[in-house]
Symmetry: C2
Subunit: 335 residues, 2 copies
């Protein structure tokens, strides 16, 4: 069995910077035609000059692969002029809003959502998508659900603003997705597959720890069914996030799961297992292209049901990353 995917897109990706970016960028660029690049560097990417420079570093790191980085700015109540400058860069995609402190390197995020209205009106007017890390500061299992009223409020107040609920993890978020025309969502590979049980039900598995945290079986099942059915508003966004091994296997382990190199193969295996391969194209590219009118570089990737073993670690440039399911064999691979 095999499938050829046109222009696969990863609609939520962390490439970090420096040596780490040199190691992980080709892991995505080899199989994806493009990816939406998160701006939560240290310091975050808040202006167009930093965005341009970061895009250049990514393109260099892509090592000759035809790969389009769809660049985002860290939401900071940008002005009209700042947004216009950003729009002048053809790689600019949208703004990513983090509630302050919600995840890795988000300390400079939005403290008061009430003060974002001016920028959101501008974005609506100028057709700039808003990507949101939608978590409250409440109890870890409730953070996404607690945040849903914020999405609802924004979707209602800014009906022409394209809003993406990033890396959704709950059945409740899926329900909301269907309730507002201008809401869209990404979902990661791991949230289609794991629950809190996989992270902490047996041994504790730091390499399955991410934000938002994996939820209940009913949530995972709902997300998987939506993806398998080709839900037209749901897009693949890996949220693949490399952390050096010493930040994962230590007294305090950073949040983030690394899946980029084998995400398409694992998705193909998952969709094939559920007799849903026909819907994979929509999930990994078609929906995003239609929703955002994207024209990524022509690129096809063929996946076959030939097993591959996920490496114990990805190493290079002085970095070492342990991926999800390190050492496990999956049933599909890139041809």
């Amino acid at each position: 069995m095999q499938i050829t995917l046109d222009t696969p897109l990863d609609m939520h990706l962390h490439l970090r910077d420096g040596e780490m970016a040199r190691l992980v960028t080709p892991c995505s660029a080899r199989t994806f035609a493009g990816a939406v690049i998160m701006p939560n560097l240290v310091p975050p990417v808040t202006d167009s000059a930093a965005m341009r420079d970061y895009a250049e570093r990514i393109l260099q790191a892509a090592d000759g692969c035809d790969f389009r980085p769809y660049m985002t700015l860290f939401f900071k109540n940008q002005t009209r002029q700042e947004l216009e400058t950003a729009l002048a860069n053809p790689l600019f995609f949208g703004l990513k809003l983090y509630p302050a402190g919600a995840t890795t390197n988000s300390e400079g995020g939005v403290k008061n959502l009430g003060e974002t209205g001016t920028t959101l009106h501008l974005m609506e007017e100028m057709g700039i998508p808003l990507l949101i890390h939608g978590e409250s500061h409440g109890f870890v299992m409730d953070r996404e659900q607690d945040f849903l009223p914020v999405y609802r409020n924004l979707a209602t107040r800014f009906p022409k603003l394209k809003i993406s609920m990033e890396h959704i993890t709950t059945a409740a978020a899926l329900e909301l997705l269907d309730a507002h025309e201008n809401l869209h969502a990404t979902v990661t590979l791991q949230h289609l597959l794991i629950t809190l049980d996989d992270l902490a039900g047996g041994m504790l598995k730091p390499h399955l720890f991410c934000k938002p945290i994996a939820k209940r079986p009913a949530d995972r099942d709902a997300l998987l069914q939506a993806a398998l059915s080709g839900h037209p508003k749901l897009m693949f966004g890996s949220d693949s996030a490399p952390h050096p091994i010493h930040k994962k296997e230590c007294c305090g382990c950073a949040a983030g799961v690394f899946t980029a190199p084998f995400a398409l193969a694992k998705l193909a295996e998952t969709f094939a297992t559920h007799q849903s391969l026909d819907n994979l194209q929509a999930f990994v590219s078609g929906n995003a292209r239609r929703i955002y009118a994207l024209t990524p570089p022509d690129k096809t990737v063929t996946l076959v049901d030939t097993p591959m073993t996920i490496p114990a670690a990805y190493r290079g440039y002085g970095q070492e990353i342990v991926p999800m399911d390190a050492g496990h064999t999956i049933g599909w691979s890139v041809a």
Copy 2:
């Protein structure tokens, strides 16, 4: 401020065996008059000869401290004769029942609770307490609540059997405790203090990972209030469980939090903070002595509000254990 506690008891303690037991036994024996010793060694302590030998090793490891190990047998549908032999040992305390696979070294536990009736009838008749690790095999946050109907059923079917719900973690378990005269419970230090947020709400903290997993704020608050109020059926049981550092800070982290050396100091601080010091004696000894008619060795421990810093690690006999709150300073210490 200070408090002198008579015969402090730890009603749920893991000492392991060999070099590890030599390192950790004095950590408990220095401040506690006695402790209920868990039988989940490899292989588990299922018969009286193994129990006698294990008790001897513990007494040797106690290094001259006056310390009573209240020994338990791993529940294995023991016969009348096996129970009579156990009762002949004055250190024998009761049977510990593990659902198979529920926690560390419990693979040989009970697979079918329906087949335990004969032994439970004997225990009821012979006055032998039953201690239960009460978790289902369901979703990790629901396991204790899922198990409550089993407690209810046993408490009703065996009204004279003293049943202890070990290391309870939920408000629901507390409610059940009040509903049946023959139900009692232990609670750990960490479950009075932490929630899942402390384990996984920020960075992932392997040294706060235990079974049952820490629950919601409302659960933690209910447990703390019950302990502070001197709830007459709630006993301190640390569930202090040493794991070598390489089994905590690695790809798969074992469940267990090590608190024994400073548990009384931290409890004193906690009770003092809430103006409840008067109820600490009941929680750490009085309730257990009354419930089980225990006569531990005479021993008093005085705690004072002089700060101490929890070591980064406890080392010795080739072992290294990282405790809860390693490197943190707490407000009380042993005088």
